[in-house]
């Protein structure tokens, strides 16, 4: 039947439904299992091949040699596009993604973090 006000019934029914939106940050959403958030680094597995650096599309990750067979991963969280290509490129599984998304900082210098320091990983969930 062609008539105006076709959506009125739907609108009225919605009055009694709960809102479709969430009250972030009071209510947090669960991230999907495959979500690509902030990276974590396992220094013990890294062999310093720098394949991750080579494939990173945005030049966000840097691997520094900090000692004999010891490497440090520094990520610029502001440059990182969270594509996880570094995770795929790493043959030693030294990098992993987490569901950590709350990475905003007031000071842009704080976005450049070393993944070796545990303090920076404090909100990260341990790898499954």
């Amino acid at each position: 039947m062609i008539r105006p006000g076709k959506m009125i019934a739907e609108v009225l029914a919605s009055i009694f439904k709960k809102p479709a939106t969430n009250l972030y940050p009071a209510e947090k959403l669960d991230m999907p299992k495959k979500f690509r958030g902030k990276l974590i680094f396992h220094p013990d597995r890294c062999i310093g091949c720098k394949l991750c650096m080579k494939d990173c599309p945005s030049g966000a990750i840097t691997i520094n040699k900090i000692g004999d067979k010891q490497f440090e991963a520094v990520v610029d969280l502001g440059r990182c596009i969270y594509c996880a290509q570094c995770v795929y490129s790493c043959l030693k599984k030294a990098l992993e993604t987490t569901d950590n998304v709350e990475l905003a900082q007031l000071d842009s210098n704080k976005l450049k973090v070393s993944l070796n320091e545990n303090s920076n990983n404090s909100v990260d969930k341990p790898a499954e």
Partner: protein, 412 residues
């Protein structure tokens, strides 16, 4: 007192009604649009050039970011071209997963469009409900690929993420809900008198004009042009999946709305078929870092129409040339035609009806003269005056109008 009002209204490049910077200049007589000048280029980001300086694998992510809505369209189109040059046989399971994500993307894009169209005509209720339902498919995309936009599912030689039985169940469940909702929207669109009266007869593009102006995607299909890369030149798994190419004979914005909502129903069927017939096996083949010299053109039916990528490889790790032709560029000419002799009030919905994506479209124009084989890059002014001259020779001449504008300005 004059009873005719000739003047020009610039809309954009920065304008509250436009979500992306792009400039439209409308020549008006009273409320009637006499001519439209569209100036592209404000979103030019040099992505094609940047691609030449990065490796193929880095380019996949860069290309994906050409557009936030049809990101999978661009990345698939690009990897298809690279895979063709490298002669990679992509596993069937990967092709099915690509198809699956492609259709999910079409669903989210068409629902987004339905909302935007509702908003442009002042029907914000439709906007709210269409976008609420769009969240269902966004969640599914996040479940499948990890992210809501820029899925990062493609890699050269296949896909990066597999899907499991639990995810298949969740997708099927979401498809049922969405199908129900889409049926409701089809009812709304075909039965709500306000929508029909507002959209019917607006932005008319006849069948012949659609062919002549090379319209693509739903814009062409709403003018009964059965043009769809998925069936004309099947890529990914489309060759094995039965589906209907939706066309409509309304030739106007209403027709474009009908085509898009009906395409949603097709997308649900394609997804169900792909999930049911998902082949077992690996999801990627190893791609070489250095792609052998060669070139390829790849086509893809994006939600907005045919997307074309050209890639030229020279045997190194970086491509020598990447060229992108997004569907909006093909449809922009049609917009000029649709707006002619219509009213100013129709402008926003007519432009919105091609579902324009200017960040995809903005590229440099390079003209190759085939007679003496030299290439030149021309700027907008040049192509602008060239176009005017070309049309003037064929009897479409605005110089009269311009003269009258000038006189009027002088009289002030």
């Amino acid at each position: 007192m004059h009873d005719s009002h000739d003047f020009k209204i610039p809309v954009g490049p920065q304008h509250p009604a436009l979500k992306e910077p792009e400039s439209f200049s409308l020549a008006l007589k009273g409320e009637k649009i006499m001519g439209v000048d569209i100036r592209l280029g404000y979103n030019h980001r040099g992505i094609e050039k940047a691609c030449e300086e990065r490796s193929y694998i880095q380019d996949v992510y860069l290309i994906e970011r050409i557009c936030g809505i049809c990101s999978h369209a661009h990345s698939t189109c690009f990897v298809q071209a690279v895979e063709e040059i490298a002669g990679l046989a992509v596993p069937r399971r990967a092709l099915y997963i690509r198809t699956l994500v492609a259709e999910l993307e079409r669903i989210h894009s068409h629902l987004l469009w339905l909302g935007v169209a509702g908003h442009e005509i002042g029907f914000d209720t439709l906007l709210m409900y269409a976008w609420r339902d769009r969240e269902i498919v966004m969640d599914i995309l996040a479940l499948l690929t990890g992210n809501r936009v820029n899925y990062g599912i493609n890699t050269i030689g296949g896909v990066r993420r597999d899907i499991d039985a639990d995810e298949i169940q969740q997708i099927l469940k979401a498809m049922d809900t969405l199908e129900e909702r889409t049926k409701y929207y089809i009812e709304v669109v075909t039965e709500e008198t306000t929508i029909i009266e507002r959209l019917a007869g607006v932005g008319v593009l006849s069948h012949d004009d659609a062919l002549r102006l090379d319209a693509v995607g739903p814009t062409a299909r709403a003018s009964e042009v059965k043009r769809d890369v998925r069936s004309d030149d099947p890529y990914a798994a489309y060759g094995e999946i039965p589906f209907n190419v939706i066309t409509d004979n309304h030739n106007d914005v209403y027709g474009r709305t009908v085509v898009r909502v009906k395409e949603l129903m097709e997308a649900y069927q394609i997804i169900r078929f792909a999930l049911k017939n998902l082949p077992e096996g690996p999801i990627e083949v190893k791609a070489p870092r250095k792609i052998p010299a060669g070139e390829a053109v790849s086509r893809y039916e994006a939600p907005r129409g045919e997307n074309v990528h050209y890639v030229k490889a020279n045997g190194t790790e970086n491509p020598e040339r990447v060229k992108v032709r997004a569907p909006t560029l093909a449809n922009v000419q049609a917009v000029k035609h649709m707006l002619k002799d219509r009213f100013l009030a129709d402008m926003s919905i007519v432009v919105a009806a091609i579902d324009p994506c200017f960040s995809c479209t903005d590229r440099l124009i390079s003209i190759k003269n085939l007679d003496n084989a030299d290439t030149k890059i021309i700027n907008w002014e040049e192509i602008h005056s060239y176009g005017i001259k070309w049309y003037a020779e064929r009897g479409v001449d605005f110089s009269d109008l311009n003269k009258r504008f000038a006189e009027r300005m002088g009289n002030r």
